[in-house]
Symmetry: C2
Subunit: 236 residues, 2 copies
């Protein structure tokens, strides 16, 4: 359907914001998550909670919310011995990429998303890839995503459109987008019900949400929140 979308929704801040973005823009929105043995599987548990919060707190926005899908990609864990899927320290490799890098992970996600969108008759695919808070992942780059759109459309004989609304937004801008889409209620739902921490730590609620507070994902999230607050105060 031409005004139907599939959102890659992991349960993190970025994809939760993408989901709200898609709900504002498309009449019917389905969601897709992947279970691939990631260490922050707790993120997956946040998916249902965030969607329930959205329906409760932002009912108009959530009106077009449709089916949820979760695909088992344990095979991706088989391919990887990086820190995301094992109990190992997260660090930078010699080539400048974090050792959490699963080569081509987002290409796999997008290919499965397109296969599912094909089956569901959905034209638009929305994903949270971002170049701005770029941590060295080549499969998040705009060039990659646009090349993938061409390859997927040739290979499936469809006219899918890949949307990456966060591509050029930093984390502070992502918070501002959430505020515009659903006001403070949406911002609070994202703070409370999404997860970013690589270590899966939800023992303490900070101003910027839950997390260990020290891993790269927590650092990025806290910094973005503080920038957003600062800009917000400056505007007032």
């Amino acid at each position: 359907m031409d005004n139907g979308a599939l959102v890659l929704f992991s349960g993190g801040q970025d994809s939760a914001t993408c989901l709200a973005w898609a709900l504002e823009r498309f009449a019917h929105v389905e969601t897709l998550g992947f279970d691939y043995g990631q260490r922050h599987r707790i993120e997956l548990a946040c998916r249902d909670r965030f969607k329930a919060a959205l329906v409760r707190d932002c009912p108009t926005l959530a009106a077009g919310l449709g089916d949820d899908h979760c695909l088992d990609l344990a095979v991706l864990g088989q391919l990887s011995d990086t820190a995301l899927t094992r109990t190992a320290e997260i660090r930078m490799r010699e080539d400048g990429l974090p050792n959490t890098f699963v080569p081509g992970r987002n290409l796999v996600f997008l290919t499965f998303a397109a296969a599912l969108a094909y089956r569901r008759g959905l034209r638009h695919i929305v994903a949270g890839m971002c170049e701005t808070d770029y941590s060295g992942y080549p499969d998040c780059r705009d060039d990659t995503i646009k090349a993938m759109q061409v390859a997927l459309n040739l290979g499936m004989e469809r006219r899918f459109v890949l949307h990456t609304p966060l591509m050029r937004r930093d984390k502070a801008a992502t918070w501002r987008l959430a505020e515009r889409l659903g006001g403070q209620r949406l911002v609070e739902d994202i703070l409370e019900e999404t997860h970013s921490c690589y270590l899966g730590d939800r023992s303490e609620r900070h101003a910027w949400g839950y997390g260990c507070g020290t891993c790269p994902a927590c650092n990025l999230r806290r910094k973005g929140w503080e920038e957003y607050l600062g800009q917000d105060t400056a505007r007032t």
Copy 2:
């Protein structure tokens, strides 16, 4: 490694010929198969048997044969209710595609192949996609494969080369290629140890190999064999 290759090797005639092609061209050749609940899983069992026959009958060609990998892609079966994965009749759909079509299946295969090649340090990826015996699969087209190479290389920051030696060969030409690569011993190994039949039937050995003899894959295989024999006779 610059002269290392990964061959998508299903255990069918085409990928077996691709394996021989890669062994002639590259110093080190690894193989990759996928288990995705396909109805012709018997094909997977042919993989080891064909490789053992190759080592026995064509030892010079097989000298560079390295590790085998098999990835569990049961998730692909979850996405599909087509005839390849269920007990249903194989037929043409209204849009001209056979109902065995799993949208983007080859895109998924190539993406996993590239991820594995990345991990194994192999530069070349060899796959049996073919436009000539084209049965309506858009993910076998040359345009698709070349677009995928661009997307994979951008997304993984590598310079993989995708080789599809059968792209413009029909089945008779594929037999001639096998004959050139390994003589009658290789031709016989492919006849005896590879599998094409959609129904997984290996109860009877025909001149062209095993199979039910009536499904589209058997028809294609028999026709190609007869053409190859005819041309062979004409040359004599």
